[in-house]
Amino acid sequence: MPLASYQTSVPVVVDDAKCIADKGCTVCVDVCPLDVLRISDMTNKAYMAYDECWYCMPCEADCPTGAVTVNIPYLLR
């Protein structure tokens, strides 16, 4: 069966101007309990790669530059 990709608006937003993943930081990727954050090959910044969020906050709380914002996933907002 062929697969289609599914559009979803993701709750975790990263401010590229503040994110220092390009300097080697991986804090948010490291701490996420659901392992949904990755560093982009294109921008070298962190982003939410999988929409599997428990809106729990370690990524935002532990980010050293305040680049990460956790929003409530749209479906339960």
Partner: protein, 580 residues
């Protein structure tokens, strides 16, 4: 190499004690095992990252079951938990917890975790339970994980993050021999030989589907997909009273605690749409949940947590706790909906079903030494059968498990296992990565959990259960024959679905076995609406025998603390009666 790309690999390591799960019970178990024998190797394996994993990833507001000298006695606590669980309790483990937990509180205090004290320097314990006083706030509760992590580093515990354990290894004579795990970012497999293994893998919190439809918007940490229950089951360990589901009151849609344990002692209460109280006590029990459920459906719903009658300063104090620890996004959620606690009550609902001894009474069967029925295998925390554990139970019983497991490891050598077991498990784990075409894990998970809601959620109807079991079997066939994983992250989800499916089957099997109603909403069977003490005043143990799921009765052990006849039904009187 890019993250998530599948790497074909298998390696083997060994240790004396292997602790699986780095949330609450796990770190304490690892720490105590290491302190018991500093020369031994203790490995702490974690699916996520120990720094921020488990139910308390963002800390906790307080202890819900602290037995503090001067406020409560171990006898009182044991009595209350026995009554709250309709008498189906092996008191020895509860009593031992009640005796040990104050020592653990003092130890946590020495780690830098503070507990609320009054102006005289005494612990400021609050009353939430029906009978006794056991709730102790933690002013710096957001620092719990950090404090634990410091201790783990100091004790030189070997931490392996991002490894998901999939199956236990056993010797031919039935002893635990280690575990098989898979890296969640590379799919490389790791076999860990161990003399003793402690399972601290949390609740089965991704069993029912939240009404929002968002699969990860669960009450429990969504990483807690019931892997520990599935692993224990496949290793032949017994699981107790799984029909005693966990269902929680929560903030509707947000699906996190509201939280009456925090706000109640300040004067907040649960109310119906008329603003009236309808339950005597906000402490979670099956009986309380049944009244909550009845009120929601009665025409007097929705149900609210009411605090707008409180002084604005009090509300600010409650807010500063609710919006800082455990689930800090509660504030963001309420802000998004324009709800201010000063003028509006919090709309509540009840959660999807799960397994969790943290608030309920089901789990991998353990005795008062945290031993399962498999020699060398231990369990603690939300997945072990000691009822109403909460966070302090996870710490205290994790401590018991760590000490006993190290004693076991010190007196046993490694058990031999059959290498063919590893090859078989590797084939099972990697199967979804070998298919070119098929169904992705998220669809199989959604369908399985939707079936859980449709057919297994109480009230439990035999005919619905029979249909549910058939539908789940069809979904299982798809999972086994057609599920695909295109990268290591999808493989993690594919493995979690298999745990979820096993838990769904166990929930159905255990519920059909107990032919009575008990524990209020948790096991309300419409075909057997009454409590039947003559035939069912017993535990049920579910286990895998000759490859098949079986259930049996197990007698409740003689009480350590006797319960008088007129005390036995105190928790049955939850509904506030209309007064003249």
């Amino acid at each position: 190499m890019a993250l998530d790309q599948i790497v074909d690999g298998l390696s083997e390591v060994s240790c004396d004690v292997l602790v699986i799960g780095g949330g609450t019970a796990g770190p304490m178990a690892a720490l105590k095992a290491k302190l018991k024998n500093p020369k031994a190797n203790v490995v702490l394996l974690e699916k996520a990252n120990v720094k921020r994993s488990g139910a308390i990833s963002m800390g906790m507001d307080g202890l819900n079951n602290a037995v503090i000298p001067g406020y409560a006695t171990p006898e009182q606590y044991t009595k209350e938990i026995t009554i709250a669980n309709d008498g189906i309790v092996d008191q020895k483990a509860v009593y031992k917890y009640a005796q040990n937990c104050f020592g653990i509180i003092e130890e946590l205090d020495s780690f830098g975790i503070r507990f609320l004290k009054n102006e005289n320097g005494d612990y400021a314990v609050k009353k939430v339970h029906h009978i006794g006083t056991y709730v102790l706030p933690m002013p710096n509760g957001e620092t719990v994980k950090k404090a634990l992590y410091r201790q783990l580093r100091r004790a030189r515990i070997l931490i392996s993050n991002r490894y998901m354990a999939t199956r236990l290894l056993k010797s031919t004579d039935g002893r635990v021999a280690g575990a098989i795990s898979v890296n969640t970012r590379t799919a490389e497999m790791l076999v860990i030989k161990a003399k003793a293994v402690i399972l601290c893998m949390g609740a089965a919190g991704r069993l029912g589907l939240p009404t929002s439809g968002y699969m990860f918007g669960t009450y429990e940490n969504a990483a807690n997909s019931g892997d520990g229950y599935a692993m224990a089951y496949h290793a032949g360990a017994a699981l107790a009273n799984l029909e005693c589901f966990q269902i929680n009151p929560l903030i509707k849609d947000y699906n996190g605690p509201a939280c009456a344990y925090v706000a109640g002692p300040f004067g907040a209460y649960t109310a119906n749409n008329e603003g009236s109280r309808f339950i005597e006590c906000d402490y979670w029990s099956g009986q309380m949940m049944l009244e909550f459920y009845n009120e929601l459906l009665s025409g007097k719903g929705p149900v609210f947590l009411q605090l707008k009658h409180l002084h604005p300063d009090t509300i600010s104090e409650i807010e500063s706790t609710l919006h800082k620890v455990e689930r800090p996004t509660r504030g963001l959620f309420q802000q998004g909906r324009g709800v201010d606690y000063r003028s509006e009550s919090i709309e509540m609902h009840i959660s999807e079903i799960g397994f969790c001894s943290g608030h309920s009474a089901s789990g991998v069967f353990v005795d008062d030494n945290a031993r399962t029925t498999v020699p060398g295998l231990y369990a603690a925390g939300d997945m072990a059968s000691v009822p109403h554990n909460y966070m302090l139970g996870a710490f205290t019983n994790g401590s018991v498990a760590g000490i006993d497991a190290m004693e076991f490891a010190d007196s046993h050598d490694f058990a031999e296992f059959d290498a063919a077991e590893v090859a078989l498990e590797r084939d099972r784990v990697m199967a979804p990565t070998k298919r070119e075409d098929g169904i992705p894990p998220n669809q199989i998970e959604y369908k399985t959990r939707r079936l859980v809601n449709d057919y297994l959620q109480p009230p439990k109807v035999t005919r619905k259960y029979e249909l549910g079991i058939r539908r789940l079997a069809e979904a299982r066939e798809d999972m086994q024959e057609r599920m695909i994983a295109r990268n290591a992250h999808e493989l993690l989800r594919a493995l979690e679905v298999q745990s979820i499916m096993d838990c769904a089957d166990m929930a159905a099997h255990a519920s059909l076995y107990r032919e009575e109603s008990r524990w209020g909403l948790y096991h309300w069977r419409t075909d057997f609406p009454d409590k039947d003490n003559e035939n069912w005043f017993c535990h049920t143990l579910l286990s895998k025998r000759d490859g098949k799921m079986t259930s049996e009765k197990r007698a409740v052990e003689p009480y350590v603390v006797p319960i008088a006849d007129d005390e036995k039904d105190l928790y049955d009187k939850q509904r506030i009666r209309a007064s003249a």
